[in-house]
């Protein structure tokens, strides 16, 4: 999602304080705000700056109120998860008035990319049952996704926008001590810890309904992004069930949510 045509934006002031540092890299521009890759305190400590620029169309008082509330809420949720040991980016610094938050840089690729690399050019329907490839690494990754979402929900947080683009596969440090290139080499593609990112729509909730909707959004997004791996989604739910005590009642609720259906038929 590198946005070369959007570099006409001036970076927020905070990114101009250290002229000797490597120039900040604009990595995405969504409706919410812009993401920059930069460094925090030490120049070898990469971080993400999430910047919510002022919206000139909005009344300035309302704009300031919303920016403040949203950064606060996102930072609080991340902090809560981090303390509870859920794998999320750590919050380094924030400025509610200028509208930015600095968070830990997560190495690795998105789960979406990892799964797509793994599936490669595989046809949707295998030519014959014997040709079914060995999906063990994919199934294992799905279980780690389920466990990660379970950890999040156990902490009292619902993500609000679970998709495979909002999850990273972070390589484990000890297994990469050789210093050799690490990404993209076939079977290793799906290794690593699942780290959840982008908590812009997250809320604190412990209700079965909210948790079930969170899972349903992920299920729908998964089906539309990775139709060829849709049949393996049960592994996510299976791992989720084992992640915390109330998970089974959430999964019962998920049945209701599915039956009711979302009114929107195009999501993710």
């Amino acid at each position: 999602m590198a946005a070369s045509e959007t570099t006409q934006f001036a970076p927020p002031q905070v990114l101009t304080y250290d002229p000797a540092a490597a120039p900040p890299l604009l990595i995405s521009q969504g409706a919410e705000g812009r993401l920059y890759k930069t460094t925090h305190v030490q120049r070898d400590r990469p971080c993400v700056l999430k910047y919510r620029p002022p919206k000139p169309y909005r009344h300035p008082i309302l704009d300031a109120r919303l920016t403040k509330a949203r950064i606060t809420s996102e930072a609080k949720v991340l902090e809560r998860c981090y303390r509870a040991g859920v794998r999320v980016p750590a919050v380094y610094a924030l400025d509610l008035v200028s509208g930015w938050m600095m968070i830990e840089w997560i190495e690795g690729m998105t789960v979406r990319q990892g799964i797509n690399d793994w599936l490669g050019e595989r046809p949707e329907i295998p030519p014959s049952p014997e040709d079914l490839p060995d999906d063990a690494p994919l199934i294992d990754a799905m279980k780690r996704i389920g466990a990660a979402v379970g950890d999040l929900h156990r902490t009292g947080v619902v993500h609000g926008d679970l998709t495979t683009s909002n999850m990273m596969l972070r390589p484990q440090k000890n297994s990469q001590s050789s210093g050799q290139p690490e990404v993209g080499d076939g079977p290793k593609a799906l290794e690593g810890d699942v780290v959840l990112i982008d908590f812009g729509l997250a809320t604190q909730s412990v209700s079965d309904e909210d948790r079930a909707v969170d899972l349903y959004v992920l299920e729908r997004a998964f089906a539309s992004t990775h139709p060829r791996a849709e049949r393996l989604f049960v592994n996510v739910l299976e791992a989720y069930r084992g992640a915390f005590k109330k998970a089974s009642s959430v999964l019962t609720k998920l049945e209701d949510v599915r039956m009711r259906g979302r009114k929107r038929s195009m999501l993710g």
């Binding site: 919206k55 169309y57 929107r264």
Partner: protein, 356 residues
């Protein structure tokens, strides 16, 4: 204009709209080249006294009383004879049951009397197609905002998909009901009078809830809080600057808050589908402050906003005629025995055969 050019002759449709308090009848022509030409657009609005809303039974009575007059006027303005008309289009839904069925019966009568085919039209699709035809917006993200609907829509694979919507009352309903609280005039429309009052505000922005969740939003809590503030005003309450609260302050704060919400969900949908065009349709779409805010957002994204004026934004017969004729040209007909109407008819239920 999204109409395939390989046609042989000019087609003419008469459209009848009456899903809420406007009775509208219009005549449209699709030229050989596919161009849509408005031949007439006649409307008569049922206006209820200040402090009240329009009730279905009264509105239905109004539509029945005025139908013949408005239809004759529409034909006379268009300078066409009954023989020139290819089909009679009417609003199948969504809307209020009583008014919808009054107009459906009248349209059916015309079709039988004149020996024409009937085409039932989705009201929301009518708004979208009219907006596209008038503004020339090719493939915009559509914000449809009226007294009964609040939806963010984008076209994909033969359907207008709803990306976000109001989870409770429509934005226009919120404005209409607040106008009732303030007991301001419903003539020409409550929203118009709120807009004029809001222009006198701007001194303070009163705190109202801001309720956006992803691409959905909610307005009932905002209305409840605005009503509380109105009660405070009547009791002589003061705002954050120590000055007495005025109706202008209330209208200004309400508009700033709810329009910011609408622009935000539209922007999110535009980012999601990668579109740079925003089209505003529906009665609330006439509001110049909403158009201005949407324009500011679209410009920042390197795009533009498309909007129409009250002739086409507010419910009218032309939009029903236009959308109906597009469907008619693809072979769509509504047989007499199926020419019903329905209060609930989602935008995404319609198979849009006329677009690619």
């Amino acid at each position: 204009m999204g109409i395939s050019p390989n046609r042989l002759r000019r087609r003419i449709a008469l459209g009848c709209e009456g899903s809420a308090n406007k009775l509208g009848i219009g005549v449209i022509a699709h030229e050989d080249g596919g161009e849509a030409v408005v031949l007439s657009n006649v409307r008569h609005t049922f206006v209820s006294p200040p402090g009240t809303g329009f009730l279905p039974k009264d509105t239905a009575r109004h539509h029945r009383a005025f139908f013949v007059r408005v239809a004759k006027q529409a034909l006379a303005d268009a300078r066409v004879s009954v023989a020139d008309v290819d089909c009679v289009c009417y609003t199948r839904g969504p809307g209020m049951g009583g008014p919808l069925s009054s107009v459906a019966i009248a349209a059916r009568t015309l079709a039988l009397l004149w020996g024409k085919e009937l085409v039932g039209v989705n009201h929301c699709v009518g708004h979208i197609e009219m907006g596209r035809a008038i503004t020339g917006a090719e493939n915009p993200v559509v914000l449809y905002v009226s007294g009964g609907n609040t939806q963010v829509i984008a076209y994909a694979e033969q359907r207008y998909r709803i990306f976000g919507e109001a989870l409770d009352i429509a934005v226009g309903n919120c404005l209409d009901r607040f106008a009732r609280t303030l007991e301001i005039s419903n003539d020409p429309a409550p929203g118009y009078n709120i807009e004029q009052l809001a222009k006198k505000g701007g001194r303070v922005l009163l705190d109202l809830p801001y309720t956006v969740k992803g691409m959905d939003c909610s307005f009932s809590g905002i209305l409840a809080r605005a009503d509380e503030l109105a009660a405070l005003m009547k009791a002589g309450g003061v705002g954050p600057d120590g000055e007495p609260i005025t109706a202008a302050d209330l209208c200004f704060s309400l508009q700033e808050t709810i329009f910011a919400m609408l622009v935000e969900i539209t922007e999110r949908a535009m980012a999601h589908v990668g579109s740079k065009q925003a089209l505003i349709v529906g009665g609330v779409g006439c509001n110049e402050r909403l158009q201005e805010m949407m324009g500011g957002m679209a410009a920042e994204r390197g795009g533009s906003v498309y909007a129409t004026d009250e002739r086409f934004c507010i419910d009218n017969g032309i939009m029903i005629a236009h959308a109906g004729l597009l469907a008619y040209e693809t072979g769509f007909r509504t047989p007499l025995e199926d020419s019903t109407c329905t209060q609930r008819f989602r935008t995404d239920e319609v198979f849009v055969k006329w677009r690619r």
